[in-house]
């Protein structure tokens, strides 16, 4: 049996699933920071981010 497709699928899942979660978390964080900064300028210096 050719095992290459199984290996490729496993590695694709092993890269894509964490990458999707990381991108989704990053986008959600940026969106929350942007929305908060838009209504409260103090939030830009109060979130622990070094600008």
């Amino acid at each position: 049996m050719n095992v290459l497709p199984f290996i490729v699928l496993a590695y694709a899942a092993g890269v894509l699933v964490p990458a999707a979660f990381a991108l989704a978390a990053w986008a959600r964080l940026r969106r929350a920071e942007r929305r908060l900064a838009a209504i409260d300028p103090r939030a830009q210096r109060g979130q622990g981010r070094r600008k």
Binding site: M1, V3, L4, F6, I7, L9, A10, Y11, A13, G14, V15, V17, P18, F21, A22, A25, W26, R28, L29, R31, A32, E33, R35, L36, I39, D40, P41, R42, A43, G46, Q47, G48, R49, R50
Partner: protein, 276 residues
């Protein structure tokens, strides 16, 4: 004579509890995690990439399973992350029930989906490994079944936390489920010892020498460390976003109540968390 001041209602009775409260302060958490997150994320990406590349192209094939054993470099780290993620979920749930701190509730709620993804990845990669080796996508083996139960525990926790109109009740119910479900962790670990399973035994143990060849062990450990850092980074990013979303909701509700006058000056608490 004035009466002695009563201790605050949330004061922990033990020194360890004070430490937990110190780190559970949302403002302090945001400042600390803001500095930590880039390091965790970059470390997770680099180590995962190095480990996966090493496992796919440099590590030798297994003498018995051949090239199919390369799936191990995805399967085993995702299993470790799923198990350690559930430990973190149970710890956050215990902190939530004991100290009733909303940050512990938020942490548990944000760990759940990421842990479920890790458990799902473990099951899928295991299935992709099992088909060429065992001739079956799935067998009702003790290790596989207990891992499937862990996946369902994660899903149950996600559903339960969101099942109530009042978030606090959902977090309490989820915390109880998470603590009860923790009994599955030793079952998963010892399933290959307690029962005669088709799944192979543990190759690594805390108190025993590894039974895996060193040139396969290094990429496995590097990938596991990279996945673990990535898991922590994703959870922290989600937790930061959840805290900011709560702060945003508080600000909007205060603005709605005051007609937009109280935004620039006074401290506005994060909903249910104090000023931070």
């Amino acid at each position: 004579m004035e009466p002695a001041a009563a201790p605050p209602a949330t004061a922990p009775s033990v020194r360890g509890g004070r430490r937990v409260h110190l780190f559970a302060n949302p403002g302090r958490f945001l400042r600390f995690s803001g500095r930590l997150l880039p390091w965790l994320a970059s470390g997770g990406i680099v180590l995962s990439a190095v480990g996966l590349f090493w496992g796919a192209f440099i590590a030798p094939p297994d003498w018995q399973q051949g090239e199919a054993a390369r799936i191990m470099y995805v399967h085993v780290p995702s299993a470790w992350v799923a198990l350690s993620g559930y430990c973190a979920l149970a710890a956050a749930s215990a902190a939530s029930l004991v100290w009733r701190h909303p940050l512990a509730d938020l942490a548990a709620a944000e760990i759940g989906p990421v842990g479920a993804a890790a458990a799902g990845l473990c099951l899928v990669s295991g299935s992709l490994w099992g088909k060429p080796m065992w001739g079956a996508w799935w067998v009702w083996d003790a290790r596989l079944t207990s891992m499937l139960v862990l996946f369902f525990l994660y899903l149950g926790h996600i559903a339960l936390v969101r099942a109530f109109d009042e978030p606090t009740r959902g977090h309490r119910a989820g915390a109880i489920l998470a603590l009860i479900g923790a009994v599955d962790l030793p079952i998963i670990h010892f399933s290959v010892v307690w029962w005669n399973t088709l799944h192979q035994g543990n190759s690594l143990g805390l108190f025993s020498a590894p039974t895996i060849y060193i040139s396969m062990l290094w990429p496995l450990l590097i990938t596991a460390l990279g996945y673990s850092l990535g898991f922590v980074a994703i959870v922290i990013a989600r937790l930061r976003a959840a805290i900011l979303e709560r702060r945003l909701a508080s600000l909007l509700s205060v603005r709605a109540a005051d007609g937009g006058k109280t935004m620039q000056g006074g401290a506005v608490p994060i909903a249910g968390m104090g000023a931070g």
